[in-house]
């Protein structure tokens, strides 16, 4: 039995991805959750994992090919049946596995089930008009000889279609991270391609030079490094072109001799870069409201009374549900500010700010919150918090949140104003529930009061709508059963 491993969707709005390199070749067995390859998307290079134990029978999409979401990348065999002899004899040796050197030629047969050595063209690879936002006239400047540009470019001997603006994956990723418009750059790579060096030169001209400017690191590896407190500068990359992969980070985290101080500094630097960018680029506005949440908390207590501990619903599940519910009516707070315009998120994927006990924080996404029950949301929160604190987050979770929620829990302060996580446009804050005097209908009483805040991007929305959105969140938290 064999099955096809398709191009996964690595985030809202992803249409296709380009194979940067494979960590596997036909032959070896891969384990569930193992990272098998690196895919370049509009959001940068992302590692992809398999979801069951399998034997790699065939690589259907060689490095350099662009593959639509859902189209096959690998043919996998069921583990344990043994003796599937369809592995091509001329397949790369496992030692050479990470980066097969055979690139797709323009005249390759369209037959999609050929072995690696006769690499097929995936559906879109031979269509020059499949442009991205970087599509444009080719550079008219003469192409200088290849520089010491991004290693990924060499990975598959890729020959992109003529007539498009070419951008190396590393360059695209770095430009996105540092808010540099690719259209403003002149490429110095082969054929006028924009290389990592070009992006870094642009950074220097604006005075920015982060500490790890010359490291090629996959986003998942960077995330893992933050979570595990690994200093990326010390790692030797084993991924395509020397890129640091998550496996490198995990191996480093397991090896003894880690310097706790230095790991903490590395995490602070990563947080500093994201938050500095937010405050430099995003014109925040801030709103707050108070909600008497007795009804919700009493309802939760009643629901939880007869439940085993594992089935109880935490207040944070209701907060997330309230935000998702309000976003259905106010979609302008769910999405991204990119290239001077708002792009709505596809689905409501709420990033939950989770503080790590030894310092720092991580913001994994909980997917499709609006379609889940409070029980399901609560279970997802418990799951993701546990994995965040043990460094087991997945690629999709760290890359595609459409809004962020930060909660002080029951031990923090009453009010928290969040800093927006770019390119998102809003963050909703929940403080600690406190008893306060509360006047209502001419009567004064003591109620349990929750302070809810909104920090939003004024480029994408205005205070009037922000206020209505926040009121909608409050409304849900006052009448949980109605909604």
């Amino acid at each position: 039995m064999s099955s096809e491993y398709p191009m996964p969707s690595l985030g809202a709005g992803m249409v296709d991805g380009t194979i940067v390199g494979w960590y596997v070749a036909p032959g070896p067995v891969v384990r569930r959750g193992e990272v098998v390859g690196l895919v370049d998307t509009e959001k940068g290079a992302i590692e992809i994992e398999v979801w069951e134990d399998a034997e790699v029978l065939e690589v259907l999409a060689p490095p350099g090919t662009k593959v639509p979401v859902g189209e096959p990348l690998l043919r996998l065999g069921t583990v344990g049946e043994g003796g599937d002899e369809t592995v091509p004899a001329d397949a790369p040796e496992p030692d050479d596995a990470p980066v097969p050197t055979v690139a797709p030629g323009p005249d390759d047969a369209p037959e999609p089930v050929e072995p690696v050595a006769a690499a097929p063209s995936p559906p879109k690879a031979a269509v020059p008009s499949t442009g991205t936002e970087e599509a444009g006239p080719p550079s008219t400047s003469p192409a200088p000889p290849p520089t010491s540009g991004p290693a990924f470019e060499d990975a598959g001997g890729t020959v992109p279609p003529v007539g498009r603006r070419r951008v190396s994956p590393a360059a695209r990723k770095r430009a996105a991270e540092h808010g540099i418009a690719l259209s403003s750059l002149r490429g110095s790579g082969p054929g006028g391609a924009i290389t990592l060096a070009d992006v870094e030169a642009a950074e220097r001209s604006t005075g920015e030079s982060p500490p790890d400017a010359h490291r090629r690191v996959t986003p998942v590896a960077r995330q893992a490094a933050e979570v595990l407190g690994v200093d990326l500068d010390r790692l030797e990359g084993t991924g395509p072109g020397g890129a640091v992969s998550r496996r490198d980070v995990e191996a480093a985290a397991e090896s003894p001799g880690g310097d706790e101080e230095e790991r903490h500094r590395a995490m602070r630097r990563a947080i500093a870069a994201a938050m500095t960018r937010s405050k430099q680029e995003i014109p925040h506005y801030y709103l707050a409201t108070s909600v008497a949440v007795d009804v919700t908390l009493d309802w939760l207590a009643a629901v939880n009374r007869d439940r085993a501990p594992a089935e109880r619903i935490l207040p944070i599940a209701m907060y997330l549900k309230a935000v998702a519910s309000a976003l259905k009516k106010f979609p302008e707070f769910n999405g991204f500010w990119e290239d001077g315009a708002f792009r709505p998120g596809e689905g409501i994927h709420t990033g939950l700010a989770i503080s790590l006990r030894r310092g720092g924080l991580v913001v994994p996404a909980i997917h499709d919150v609006d379609e889940r029950s409070p029980e399901e949301i609560g279970a997802a929160v418990v799951d993701v918090v546990g994995r965040a604190r043990t460094g087991k987050l997945r690629g999709s979770e760290v890359s595609d949140a459409t809004i962020t929620v930060t909660s002080m829990g029951d031990r923090g302060v009453e009010t928290v104003y969040g800093v927006i996580h770019p390119p998102q446009v809003a963050i909703v804050g929940f403080g600690r529930v406190v008893e306060r005097p509360w006047a209502e209908g001419g009567m004064l009483g003591v109620r349990r009061v929750l302070r809810v805040t909104l920090s939003a991007d004024h480029r994408a929305s205005d205070g009037h709508r922000g206020g209505l959105f926040l009121a909608q969140v409050a409304e849900f938290l006052q009448n949980p059963e109605v909604s």
Binding site: A301, N304, R305, A308, P309, A310, R312, L314, P315, I316, S355, R357, R358, V381, V382, V385, G386, G409, D410, R411
Partner: protein, 87 residues
Amino acid sequence: MSQADGTLARAAIVAALARIAPEVDVDLLDPAADLREEADLDSVDLMNLVVALHEGLGVEIPESDYDQLSTLDEMIAYLAARSGPGK
């Protein structure tokens, strides 16, 4: 509460915390101080701790009793009184 019950309860707490908050050294915690403050446990950590103790010791721990579980000493006493032979 017998000595044995208290020892068992403490061992269960130590084992659960080792998984939920591996950075925490239980031996260094003040047993009479607020455990959540001492070990920096949030509501999800507390829930995971209660789940582990419920499943490990078979003790019912309703939410309304959470305020009896503030310190390590209180938690051990609560669990020991509800677990063990004949309970």
